[in-house]
């Protein structure tokens, strides 16, 4: 018996065309080649076509005067500002409607998700009906419904629906009082910031103390006291530095105050109702994923109902809820681009719509618009990943 294995047993080195490593390199080289060539082909065609049609290239158009107005702007803007400015106007309007939508949809979604699991038969059925109805109707249709069927049929400004002569709803939008700050309001803001920082450190201290000694601390009440009390003291000390500007009916419309465009109203409502259904399902799945044994164990430990929710159910449910919740937030942000269909001046309507039509620089404008949505998406998902990692199960 020799130690040498016989030739038949040794797997010989495979032929180069059968070696997986070499194959991988060849395939990847081919792919890179194909991608580069395809890209080159597209760029070449585009440059040629643009030259043929006399479309200028580059980003110099951003400095030119835009010459069109926008119905809602969070920053100062009029016709004399540049196209670059229209980009930011649209962007801020997109952010505004996304933030509003995310806030309300989260509220509605959590309420409905919990309601669907309610022991109350009627409440559970109503929540189920809401989810099943609005989830299966296209969002654009819902936006159209709230805008063209409901919003336009609101009364005219003279016959507005009024809530205590402070809030007015009519076919020009929703009008409400606007806070006007006077000198000394900075003090209140400063007090609020100090209170937030104080609460942050207090919560940390309370946790450490409880870990070390087992002594609980009334964090919730103490923080509430700090958050409300400190600014209130500052507010009174500075001598009431806040007045409200009420909307008033002048001529055919309301002047003054804060006004919400009917487009913004319809869009936020539709986004909230539509995304709320998905969030509700996410929340329901999250709560159901916490096994019943956890609840029973907590009861056996003698935890009160509120502590049971706060310490056992919610932390475990949140772990399951957060990843799909993230993608719902992303969807909502992307869906806010449907604003263009009803003329809410968001990024797509203002920049990829009007600005594109006026300048004709499709490539630059669409690329910038897409880049914005990509980076918004990435920002939200990065934030949510960080939060997710914080909440994740710490296993041994």
């Amino acid at each position: 018996m020799s130690d040498q294995p016989s030739d038949a047993m040794t797997p010989g080195k495979p032929a180069p065309w059968n070696d997986p490593k070499i194959r991988a390199i060849v395939f990847q080289a081919l792919l890179v080649g194909a991608v580069v060539m395809f890209g080159f082909y597209l760029i070449n065609n585009t440059l040629y076509n643009m030259e043929q049609r006399g479309i200028s290239t580059g980003f110099s158009f951003l400095e030119k005067e835009s010459g069109f107005g926008v119905t809602q702007s969070l920053i100062e803007y009029d016709e004399t500002h540049s196209y670059g400015r229209t980009f930011f106007v649209g962007l801020l309007n997109t952010v505004l409607v996304s933030v509003l939508g995310i806030f309300f949809a989260t509220l509605l979604g959590f309420v409905m998700g919990v309601a669907r699991l309610s022991k109350n038969w009627l409440v559970a059925r109503v929540a189920t009906a809401y989810i099943e109805i609005f989830r299966n109707i296209p969002l654009l249709l819902q936006i159209f419904f709230w805008y063209f069927a409901v919003g336009i049929n609101f009364p005219r400004p003279r016959e507005s629906l009024a809530l205590g002569e402070v809030f007015f709803l009519n076919n020009r939008g929703l009008f409400m009082p606007r806070p006007v700050t006077e000198d000394g309001f900075g003090l209140v803001v400063a007090a609020l910031i100090i209170a937030i920082v104080a609460v942050f450190f207090m919560v940390r201290w309370a946790h450490r103390r409880q870990d070390a000694t087992g002594q609980p601390f009334h964090t919730v009440w103490a923080s509430l006291g700090l958050l409300v009390g400190l600014p209130l003291v500052a507010f009174l000390a500075a001598g009431n530095p806040l007045t409200w500007e009420y909307p008033e009916l002048r001529g055919f419309n309301f002047k003054g105050g804060l006004s919400v465009l009917p487009e913004l109203f319809a869009l936020t409502l539709a986004l909230t109702v539509y995304t709320g259904t998905f969030i509700a399902e996410t929340v329901r799945a999250g709560i159901q994923s916490v096994s019943h044994g956890q609840t029973e164990a907590a009861r056996a430990l003698g935890l009160r109902e509120s502590k049971l929710l706060q310490l056992i159910i919610i932390p475990q449910a949140m772990r399951v809820i957060i990843p799909p919740l993230t993608s719902q937030y992303l969807n909502l942000t992307k869906n806010s681009s449907l604003a263009a269909a009803i003329g809410y001046p968001d990024l797509v309507a203002v920049f990829a719509g009007t600005t594109l039509n006026q300048t004709g620089q499709a490539v630059e404008i669409i690329a910038m618009t897409m880049a914005v949505y990509l980076s918004l998406s990435l920002t939200i998902s990065l934030f949510m990943n960080w939060y997710n990692a914080k909440m994740a199960l710490r296993e041994r």
């Binding site: 890179v32 065609n45 109805i133 990829a352």
Partner: protein, 368 residues
């Protein structure tokens, strides 16, 4: 010793408050004061909303007639929908040629029936035919040029039939691309392939469909060499397919991840190469798991196809918007939207129930 005999009396009936309708009410609606309050509030809200809604939609509504003058009652005027029904289904397709659409959808329906029969042996072949061959036959029929019929341009297509064409073709065309992307994303030994797939998928998933449609309608003509043009429908389909393939890839990737590693190793041990392993062992199992996921993305796509009205294609919602602008029928938006909502709801809801049904049925071997 005094012995006392105990007689077992007859069982008492359960308390009246615990059984029957009263028991049910007490358990489900009035179990605590909070629940009772909720019940009352919700019931009151429903009472405020439902009777007027039913009255508007069903009781005091108009159903028959031919023009606006037939809308006599205070409720909904469904005449608006019935007069325009043909347009809502077929768009501007000439009425004399609408049998072509009926035939295409009817044949598709008949072809699908055997797929649901357990005993039918050639499901794979039939499925393949429906997915890969039938769309071309359908296009030939609807357009007409290939079969020598009257040519009907895609600008005249519309209504619900266009909605289903967009969603169906988008989904079918996106599936192969999505499978390739999903495989590429899992190719750990080929980092460049993986990177290209990840970038492609994340790019399309990160942008809204509306910008994709804008891009395909405005930028696609710039990308193509001179003389090559696509019509609007084709451009929309290209955009939808690229967009959908990214979502499809993620669904398929979920299926691939669910296949136990032993399956890969067993295929390797049998000496199967990559493509044989994928086609014969992995994909059949993975695709089976992801059918519900595919149906769910299909539902999302059906709802998303409404967006093509923004680039000027008249699918169902676009036809409604168009009809609402008719000066003879101003002010019937609620009826129009209610009808559209119902159509979409029926399609999407039944598909989602179907997807849940399959999910339950397929729950066979892969849960560990």
């Amino acid at each position: 010793m005094d012995t006392k005999q105990f007689e077992r009396g007859p069982d008492l009936p359960p308390p009246i408050t615990e059984i029957g309708a009263i028991g049910w009410l007490r358990r489900n609606l009035f179990s605590s004061w909070l629940n009772s309050l909720l019940t009352v509030v919700v019931a009151y809200l429903l009472w405020l909303m439902l009777p007027p809604l039913i009255d508007w939609a069903l009781i005091s509504s108009d159903w028959t007639g031919t023009s606006r003058e037939d809308c006599t009652s205070d409720g909904a005027c469904w005449v608006f929908v019935s007069v325009r029904f043909n347009q809502f289904m077929y768009g501007f397709y000439p009425e004399a040629q609408q049998w072509r659409i009926d035939l295409i959808y009817g044949t598709l329906f008949l072809l699908m029936i055997p797929l649901f029969l357990k005993a039918f042996p050639w499901k794979t072949w039939l499925g393949g035919f429906i997915i890969f061959v039938y769309p071309f036959i359908a296009y030939g029929f609807l357009d007409g040029a290939w079969f020598g019929f009257e040519v009907i341009e895609t600008t005249k297509w519309g209504g619900l039939s266009l909605t289903l064409i967009l969603a169906g073709i988008g989904c079918v065309a996106a599936l192969p691309l999505g499978i390739l992307l999903a495989l590429g994303r899992r190719a750990t030994d080929m980092p460049i392939v993986k990177a290209v797939c990840v970038v492609f998928i994340e790019f399309w998933r990160g942008v809204p469909l509306i910008t994709v449609l804008f891009m395909s309608s405005v930028m696609l003509p710039l990308f193509l060499p001179e003389g090559v043009t696509f019509d609007k429908l084709m451009r929309a389909l290209i955009g939808i397919t690229l967009f959908q393939s990214a979502y499809m890839a993620e669904v398929v990737r979920g299926g691939l991840q669910a296949i136990p590693k032993g399956q890969y190793e067993a295929a390797d041990a049998l000496g199967l190469g990559y493509w044989k392993k994928t086609a014969l062992i992995i994909m059949p199992q993975a695709l089976k798991i992801v059918i519900p996921g595919i149906v769910n993305t299909f539902i999302a796509l059906i709802k998303d196809t409404t967006l093509v009205l923004i680039i000027g294609l008249f699918e169902l919602l676009g036809m409604i918007q168009n009809a609402l602008n008719d000066p003879n029928w101003l002010g019937f938006s609620t009826e129009g939207y209610a009808f559209t909502a119902m159509v979409f709801w029926i399609i999407c809801f039944s598909l989602s129930r179907y997807s849940m049904h399959i999910e339950r049925k397929l729950h066979t071997g892969h849960k560990r």
